[in-house]
């Protein structure tokens, strides 16, 4: 090395050997670490530390700690898209068509490969974009950690090959022995699955597919077999019916296909067009009864005779012979005469339905409809509905066989008869006598717990499949996520056990190629047809000619009439008819482990999390029972301790208990819905399926001869709304003051009042009154600058709202609203951004009911905005009342000052507090995959509320700008839907830009029916409601008003 021209030090200049050696060594080793450490060690003993050493050690310690901290971090599970998947743009949702287990065609919104939201498929005539609460909540089950995660034998996980081998061997054994093989399932909508089952069973000498429904409509099918010779459940077309008479059929809430019916029903409920007329005869108060124009409480045991009376009255008009010897029966206001007249006058456009699963009653109903010529118009038995294919008798036979030990192999296709049938004990007993018992349950249930093998099916969002809702409606199911666990599709299992090597996906495609492809003419290539069908998700065929002719002989009819007369009792004294009903959220209990559904309050009672017995108002008044009083209900040899919920409008001597509770092997969440101990006694929960015994060919969901006795205990019911009536007569009358606030919150009128001009007068008064509502301040929105922008507003039609709660769950799903559990609900701390207020008016014996969806009203003069000290809630120039979570310090002043009480506070850390809420999905990594990444999860101490789905607005506005390639483009009217609006099957919620005079919402706002809740507070809400109109003529209106006044006088006395 030569001498450098520029040198840094003498060593370098001189090029000493030490320097050269050192320069070659990149990491000089002469930092005296050993010495330092030695010195430290010596100092430890000798206490000779000096400042330098201290600093040395400190420095070493710091850097060591820093290095140690760098060394090993937790393994991150997120994988960045280094190579972007072809169809996924991070942050942009993908949509896939599928079909929910309720049969409703849905669109699945996925983000970064995980499904996060379901919406009804707008292309489907059945869904029309609507989806029920259960449909929404079925998403949550995908991410459930309690699901069966692999195949297992007696709860020991096994790999699929072993399981298949063992099952195949046992099947061969059964085949050799020639004993019976049964596949037990609920109603299977999928035609391919039905075919696979048939093919599977064909291998065996005695193979049968048993189909049953937990909540059965088999009487409807049986009645059509008797009357028309076809075992079908017809399709009902409520959109074609101008007169609807329903006997206990909750067709807007739980009956057969409620989403479809609700959408059809509202078609003729627009007061600007001729309105249909809806009479409801029922024992419990259902959402359907709440929507009826006139509702007549009828005890279940009187219903048969009521139907016969109706038959006779109509027969007289049609000119047919009446049933002899029918006891005279009528309701208040001669309801049966009204029904007969209206059904007859609108014959061919009328519809009589009955919710009782009783063959005789259904035969009479079918005959009346046939007599009125409704078949082919409002009912269609030629293009039947496939929702309920169960056969109660066949199932009862199976249970007998099973318990007699005659069944060699039984496969439960996601069916749970041990819990959800009256013959559960028998099935339980018989299962021990089989050679092979298999369940394909997705998640643990009472039956799979007893089966030898559990071969778990995929969740439907991981599956392929198809569905046929009716003779003409088809839809597809496609996977939207790779299977989360080691599960296998049940169809694949069956194919495997049939000895087939075909995958179900190929089978499905083949079937569609051979069976469906020829039914259309649009596409010539199968691939295009398949791709398009998958994209659309639904396929609809034209209806075939529809009129059916009754083939029943009059003598046969008489027999059923006689049967109906038997149960009749004019008045019972101490015994009750117990009605087993379905709650809108829990339904048959299949999804009872779903916290969204458990927490969803019942539309009518507003109770969440609990089972209870509903009792008539009069009985409660007589016996001094209060909401929450614990009673013992004895019926059908069983006894239940349940809290009482007083139900105005419930028929005398009637009790109601919901199905779907009391599940024992279904998970952690349901345990919270099964009540708790009061004075050492288990109260709440209770499985009432054992009471639904098969009688006269169908499972009966009413039990006569029930008794009820008070225990003196009290139980806390978690009720979202505790104060029921708008009018508080006791208080009002006592002080001679009128506190009737009805008209400031709910506007209600009748067609009678509209035609007499009363309603017009009232609207004018309201408009005149508005002139007196002066303000000192200018409106923010009269500024021409803002009027060029969007002004979001929402109109909610009370006439269309059925209170079903689908929007509530949709909102919960869209906006990451936590589940808070029963205790919190009981403390009045639910987190719902939107709730459905339910008000009674009129006499408690038979009140009118109003449902009012209530969410943030986005007031332009928002009381919440002025009081927030830190400006965490502000108004956007588009009229939104915005909540800035990161800024919120949680004073709760905004909530106090909200006249609508729609703000919700995070009292606890609902997402992370393991002590309190660990049973919910919010506390598992898997469960949290359901969260919508567009919406912040709120921390404790923060206020939250409806945002008008601002994430959707933002997305829609951006989309409009991108599509139009202009920053000034506004989204088209109707292109943006809030989650609640989207989910509403009846289209009760309309949302849009008010500054656009042609938008749907501005048109609605201009109507007479449009009003503001508590207008005089002058909050200028951006949500307006549309007056509820009942189709009542002037006399009926008067009569109902009188009933109401009578109640007030009654209360005075």
């Amino acid at each position: 090395m030569s001498k450098p021209r520029y040198w840094r030090g003498l060593e370098e200049l001189e090029q000493t050997p030490e320097f050269i050696a050192r320069a070659k060594n990149e990491f000089p080793s002469d930092i005296p670490m050993d010495q330092v450490l030695k010195e430290v060690a010596e100092e430890d003993s000798g206490l000779q530390a000096n400042r330098r050493d201290f600093l040395k050690v400190l420095g070493f310690g710091l850097s060591a700690a820093a290095l140690a901290a760098c060394a090993e971090g937790p393994v991150k599970k997120a994988i960045p898209y280094v190579n972007k998947p072809q169809d996924i743009i991070p942050g942009v949702a993908n949509w896939y068509a599928s079909t929910a287990p309720t049969g409703t065609p849905v669109l699945v919104r996925t983000r970064e490969g995980r499904p996060i939201k379901l919406e009804g498929n707008p292309d489907s005539r059945i869904a029309k974009g609507g989806l029920s609460a259960i449909g929404h909540a079925s998403l949550l089950n995908l991410y459930e950690t309690e699901r069966h995660q692999s195949a297992s034998k007696k709860s020991n996980p096994l790999d699929w090959d072993t399981v298949d081998g063992e099952i195949r061997a046992k099947l061969d054994q059964v085949k050799a022995a020639g004993s019976a093989v049964r596949v037990v399932s609920g109603s299977i909508l999928s035609p391919t699955t039905r075919q696979i089952i048939t093919e599977f069973l064909a291998q065996f000498a005695d193979g049968k597919h048993i189909s049953y429904d937990a909540v059965s409509f088999s009487a409807v099918a049986r009645a059509h077999e008797i009357v028309f010779g076809k075992r079908v459940v017809p399709q009902y077309h409520f959109d074609k019916a101008m007169s609807i008479v329903s006997f206990s059929a909750d067709f807007l809430g739980t009956w057969i296909s409620p989403i479809e019916y609700a959408a059809d029903y509202v078609v003729n409920r627009d007061p600007e067009k001729p309105m249909s007329r809806h009479l409801q005869f029922e024992s419990l108060l259902t959402t359907t009864g709440a929507k009826a124009d006139l509702r007549f409480p009828v005890n279940p045991s009187q219903q048969g005779v009521a139907l016969l009376n109706l038959y006779n009255k109509i027969a007289a008009k049609v000119g047919k012979g009446a049933f002899p010897g029918v006891p005279e029966f009528n309701t208040a206001m001669n309801g049966l005469d009204l029904a007969a007249t209206e059904l007859f006058e609108q014959r061919g456009k009328s519809l009589l339905i009955c919710g009782t699963n009783d063959v005789a009653a259904q035969v009479i109903v079918a005959s009346i409809n046939a007599m009125l010529g409704n078949y082919g118009a409002t009912l269609d038995a030629e293009n039947p509905s496939y929702y309920y294919q169960g056969n109660d008798e066949a199932f009862a036979q199976f249970a007998d066989e099973l318990s007699a030990g005659k069944v060699g192999a039984v496969i439960f296709l996601d069916a749970n008869p041990v819990y959800e049938t009256a013959l559960g004990e028998k099935v339980k007993d018989g299962l021990t006598k089989t050679t092979l018992s298999v369940s394909t349950a997705v998640r643990p249930d009472e039956t799979s717990a007893l089966c030898e093998y559990v071969c778990p099916d995929h969740h439907y969002l991981e599956s392929w499949g198809d569905a046929q809702q009716t003779a003409v409606h088809f839809s597809l199911i496609q996977p939207t996520i790779y299977p989360l666990f080691k599960t296998r599709q049940a169809q694949d299992s069956l194919l495997k056990w049939s000895g087939s090597t075909q995958k179900y996906y190929d089978y499905l495609k083949n079937w569609w190629a051979t069976a469906m492809m020829p039914k259309q003419t649009q596409y010539t290539s199968f691939q295009t047809f398949w791709d398009e069908s998958l994209r659309k998700g639904v396929m609809e065929l034209p209806y075939t000619a529809a009129a059916s002719a009754a083939t029943i002989a009059d003598t046969a009819l008489l027999e059923y009439a006689d049967r109906l007369k038997q149960g009749f009792a004019a008045e019972q004294a101490d015994t009750f008819d117990l009605v087993l009903f379905e709650k809108v959220g829990i339904r048959d209990g299949k999804f009872a482990n779903n916290p969204w559904l458990q927490e969803l309050p019942d539309p009518v009672t507003k109770v969440s999390w609990d089972n209870y017995v509903t009792i008539p108002y009069q009985y409660a008044a007589e016996k001094g029972l209060k909401d929450g009083s614990v009673v013992e209900v004895k019926a059908g040899g069983a006894s239940y301790f349940l809290p009482v919920v007083i139900q105005p409008g419930q028929a005398k001597n009637t009790l109601g208990i919901a199905l779907g509770y009391g599940r024992t092997a279904a998970g952690k969440v349901i345990v919270r819905g099964n009540g708790s101990k009061v004075n050492g006694r288990q109260v709440g929960g209770g499985n009432v399926y054992p009471l639904a015994v098969v009688a006269n060919g169908a499972a009966s969901f009413t039990v006569a001869g029930a008794t009820i006795s008070a225990t003196g205990d009290t139980y806390t019911i978690a009720q979202i709304q505790t104060f029921n009536t708008l009018y508080d007569p006791a208080k009002g009358v006592a002080f001679g003051l009128d506190f009737d606030r009805t008209e400031k919150i709910i506007e209600e009128t009748t067609t009678g009042l509209i035609s007499s001009g009363e309603f017009g007068k009232k609207v004018k008064e309201r408009e005149d009154h508005k002139k007196h509502l002066v303000s000192l301040w200018d409106s923010h929105f009269e500024d021409p600058e803002t009027s060029r922008q969007i002004h979001w507003k929402m109109a909610i039609d009370l006439n269309k709202c059925t209170g079903c709660g689908a929007c509530v769950v949709a909102c919960q799903s869209e906006n990451n609203i936590p589940v808070v559990g029963k205790d919190e609900i009981a403390r009045h701390r639910d987190m719902y951004w939107m709730r459905i207020d339910r008000y009674y008016s009129g006499s408690p014996e038979n009140p009118d009911v109003v449902f009012q969806p209530m969410m943030c009203q986005h007031c332009d003069n928002a009381p919440c905005e002025t009081v927030c000290p830190v400006l965490a809630t502000l108004h956007s120039n588009e009229g939104l009342n915005q909540m800035v979570y990161p800024r919120c310090v949680g004073t709760r002043y905004c909530a106090n000052n909200c006249p609508y009480k729609v703000r919700r506070f995070n009292w606890f850390n609902y997402w992370n507090d393991k002590d309190l809420f660990s049973d919910f999905y919010s506390h598992s990594e898997m469960g949290r995959l359901v969260l919508n990444p567009d919406v912040t999860v709120r921390f404790r101490g923060v206020m939250e509320k409806c945002s008008f789905c601002v994430q959707r607005l933002q997305e829609g506005k951006l989309r409009a700008k991108v599509n139009a390639n202009s920053t000034f483009a506004k989204p088209e009217d109707g292109s943006i839907k809030t989650a609640c609006q989207q989910s509403c099957p009846t289209g009760a919620i309309v949302f849009g830009d008010f500054n656009d005079p042609d938008s749907e919402v501005s048109k609605l706002f201009r109507k007479d029916r449009s009003y503001v809740v508590i207008e005089e507070v002058k909050t200028l809400p951006n949500v307006q409601y549309m007056t509820l109109v009942r189709n009542r003529n002037a006399e009926e209106t008067e009569a109902k008003l009188e009933e109401r006044h009578a109640t007030q006088t009654y209360s005075k006395a």
Binding site: F723, F735, H828, P863, T866, V870, P899, Y900, F905, V1017
Partner: protein, 468 residues
């Protein structure tokens, strides 16, 4: 300080002749060893305070959910206690500032203690607006501090922000006024300590006394600053509680949304404050044997103020009812009917009885001079005034506009415990104060000794005899 005292007035201090005696009397508790009862009660109140703080810690750890509040009744014990404690503070300021301006010499014996009461009460009160926040750790955002978050600022429209200013101003002014007023007395103690050879104590009190030397010039400045501060503090008596009342008055909730609130709240605050002064003074004069300084006349004067303010409060209650009816608004009417006859009727009648009925007993001289009865009545007033705030807050919120959101509120042990804990804190501070600081304003009381002798003919007529 020379001022004219009418000869027919009774003396404000009795059985005391010399300045030295006053000093000795007031300094006795400071100079003597802590008594057993003092130790015991200080320990008890300290423990209660700790209990309160542990429940506060629990609240902070878990969330406000451990209280009984819900989405209909968003404020309950928290703000009730806040208003209650702020109200109590008011008497102190009234006594020290307003009565000084009005030259009411009788205040001299009680102003120190009642100012201390003000400060401790405001400290207790200040806890609650902090505690009631969902995210206490962001409390800094209440302050209009320059920040890097763009134009993010506080909301000057919000009464809660006004509260922050009102309370912090109040606490500052009260603290300064109280401390400044104590400086001459602290110097006295310093000198006595030094004389007694207690060097450490002398040093501490010396530091606390800011080197007071008692020169005429110092005194003159002291008097001026006292006047200025009392001038500053006087509007606070009216403003603080007016602003607190606006937390409610500016809202839209029936029962809150009323213009009567500012005067009503101020009257209530003074009322409750004097109730608390009574409670404390009766105990203090008894325990420290200061009956010669806090005389029966003092107690009577306080009782008279209590009658006046109690009646004002009663008038406010009735006015509210009348206006609710007269307004014709069903919301207003219902809110008030619901207060008196709704599910929380008991709290309304507890309030009404304690605040309107009981103080009227003070019309009877026998009752207002009976210290046991006065003590009991003063407790009633304290309870009643707490209920007043509870009634205003909870009964208005629990049933407002839409019946669908009506709900009931039941407190949990946590919020009840925190409330009791603030009593512990209040008493703990008061005990410490009464042991280590001069409870009575020595130099001002001394001015009361210096009044002219009454003419002998009046003494003879009244049969009075000056204690010799």
């Amino acid at each position: 300080m020379s001022h004219v005292v009418s000869p027919i007035r009774q003396k404000w201090i009795t059985n005391t002749e010399t300045y030295g005696q006053i000093t000795a009397d007031v300094c006795r508790p400071i100079e003597s060893k802590p008594s057993l009862p003092w130790l015991f009660w200080t320990a008890v109140s300290g423990l209660v305070m700790l209990m309160g703080f542990s429940l506060i810690a629990w609240t902070m750890w878990k969330g406000i959910g451990v209280w009984g509040v819900n989405w209909t009744v968003g404020w309950a014990f928290d703000i009730t206690n806040f208003v209650f404690w702020v109200g109590i503070g008011h008497a102190g300021t009234l006594i020290s500032a307003v009565l000084l301006l009005f030259r009411q010499p009788w205040r001299n014996s009680i102003n120190r203690a009642s100012e201390a009461m003000t400060i401790f009460a405001v400290l207790c009160a200040a806890l609650f607006p902090l505690l009631h926040m969902g995210r206490l750790w962001l409390g800094l955002w209440f302050l209009p501090l320059p920040n890097t978050r763009g134009s993010l600022w506080v909301n000057f429209n919000s009464p809660l922000l006004w509260d922050v200013f009102a309370i912090s101003t109040y606490l500052t002014v009260s603290l300064v006024f109280w401390y400044l007023g104590m400086i001459p007395d602290l110097a006295t103690i310093r000198d006595r300590m030094a004389r007694a050879g207690k060097k450490i104590s002398a040093k501490i009190y010396g530091v606390l006394a800011f080197g007071w030397e008692g020169s005429t010039r110092t005194w003159s400045r002291f008097e001026i600053i006292s006047l200025i501060l009392s001038g500053l503090a006087t509007p606070l008596v009216l403003s603080v509680h007016s602003i607190v009342s606006m937390d409610f008055a500016t809202s839209v909730i029936p029962g809150w949304h009323t213009t009567i609130f500012p005067p009503y709240f101020v009257a209530g605050a003074i009322f409750s404050g004097f109730g608390m002064v009574q409670t404390l003074m009766i105990v203090t004069r008894k325990i420290y044997k200061l009956e010669n300084y806090i005389t029966m006349d003092h107690m009577e004067s306080i009782a008279k103020i209590v009658i006046a303010t109690g009646s004002l409060v009663g008038l406010a209650y009735t006015t509210e009812f009348f206006v609710a009816w007269y307004s014709g608004s069903i919301w207003e009417r219902y809110a008030f009917i619901n207060r008196a006859f709704g599910p929380y009727w008991w709290s309304y009648w507890a309030m009404f009885t304690c605040n309107v009925v009981t103080p009227q007993l003070f019309w009877f001289r026998k009752i207002r001079t009976n210290m046991v009865l006065t003590f009991i009545i003063s407790l009633f007033i304290n309870v009643g005034m707490w209920f007043e705030r509870f009634v205003i807050i909870v009964t208005s919120l629990h049933r407002d506009f839409l019946p669908s959101s009506w709900a009931m509120y039941t407190p949990t042990y946590v919020e009840a415990g925190i409330f009791i804990g603030t009593f512990g804190m209040f008493m703990f501070f008061f005990f410490l104060f009464s042991k280590y600081l001069p409870v009575i304003n020595m130099f001002e009381v001394k001015t009361l000794l210096h009044h002219p002798k009454k003419p002998s003919h009046i003494e003879e007529r009244e049969g009075l005899k000056i204690n010799a």
